[in-house]
Symmetry: C2
Subunit: 190 residues, 2 copies
């Protein structure tokens, strides 16, 4: 596969359990040699498929997003892990993955999406802001950015992001809706 | 704290986000020096509190269980990580943690609980079987035990367990229930 592709060739699909093997095989390289694969438990590839996606082109893995709905706060969705092939960055693939995630999270009833990154990752901070995420003010500051101190472990400060998802109405039908009539809403039986 | 305690001193409570720090501080030691802390993302301590628990005695951490409801199959609950202080094993603490997890998972509507372990961990296999978990037949065998090959990554075979949770009715009231009368169930408005 060359570096060029048209959007017709891109396929964004739900994560499969077998994608764990494919992602683990490339992820350390995608992170410039940093050992990341141990952090990517197969659990995420099995139990969070509704909010996790893969981007492919002609069968090649170009990116993935692992997200979940918080079970502590079910109106919040959370981006756990995102990766884009280093040769295919700045082409809008991250925007596609985040866009699908936020749409699905909204359909599942989530009111906000959350994400976080390390304060050193200026590209990630700029990316989140470009996607409508605001920085969630924390209890510390690193290089002028507000962080949540020790958020991911001792010394592991993180910039937290939050985005309000708004109200998403799924398109069930194109048929005209019946008139609701003049009964007040309180007449509805539940 | 000495090794002895009475069951009155034990406290089983929902996991708090701050427990991440406490668990990470002890877990490598609990696993006999094996580096485990990198596998325990703070995500689990934030987003899966309804099905995750800590056991304490006089404020000391004796054990924890991190569980979740599968978002791919919401009628399945999954034990992700369990640890018991090495000086307090074989005292029934694991049974307490699993018992609470299975009860809560049943109340949340899950029909089965799942767990897994490595085929070398004979104690874990025996423990799961003693708690009513059956081995879920896989596609391979290690030392006479059925395994799911490459389940947690290349070469990482796992024994999978499954337990049917049965039907749990929460005790809402001790008052006698009103008679249902002679109307057929289909008369209920929803």
């Amino acid at each position: 596969m060359g570096q060029g592709f048209t959007s017709d060739q891109l396929r964004l699909r739900p994560l499969e359990a077998d994608d764990h093997r494919r992602v683990v095989a490339v992820i350390d390289r995608w992170w410039g040699g940093r050992p990341m694969s141990g952090r990517l438990s197969h659990v995420f590839f099995i139990h969070f498929r509704p909010t996790s996606f893969v981007l492919e082109c002609d069968g090649d893995l170009l990116g993935f997003l692992i997200g979940l709905v918080s079970q502590t706060a079910p109106d919040e969705a959370y981006v756990h892990f995102v990766g884009v092939h280093p040769e295919y960055r700045r082409l809008g693939l991250g925007r596609r993955l985040y866009g699908r995630f936020c749409t699905v999270a909204g359909l599942l009833g989530c009111e906000v999406a959350r994400s976080h990154t390390s304060p050193q990752n200026r590209l990630s901070i700029a990316f989140h802001q470009s996607q409508g995420f605001a920085i969630d003010p924390g209890d510390g500051e690193v290089d002028g950015v507000s962080v949540w101190r020790d958020y991911a472990g001792p010394g592991e400060h993180r910039v937290r992001f939050v985005k309000r998802l708004g109200f998403v109405v799924p398109a069930m039908s194109r048929a005209p809706r019946p008139a609701l009539g003049s009964e007040p809403a309180t007449a509805v039986g539940w």
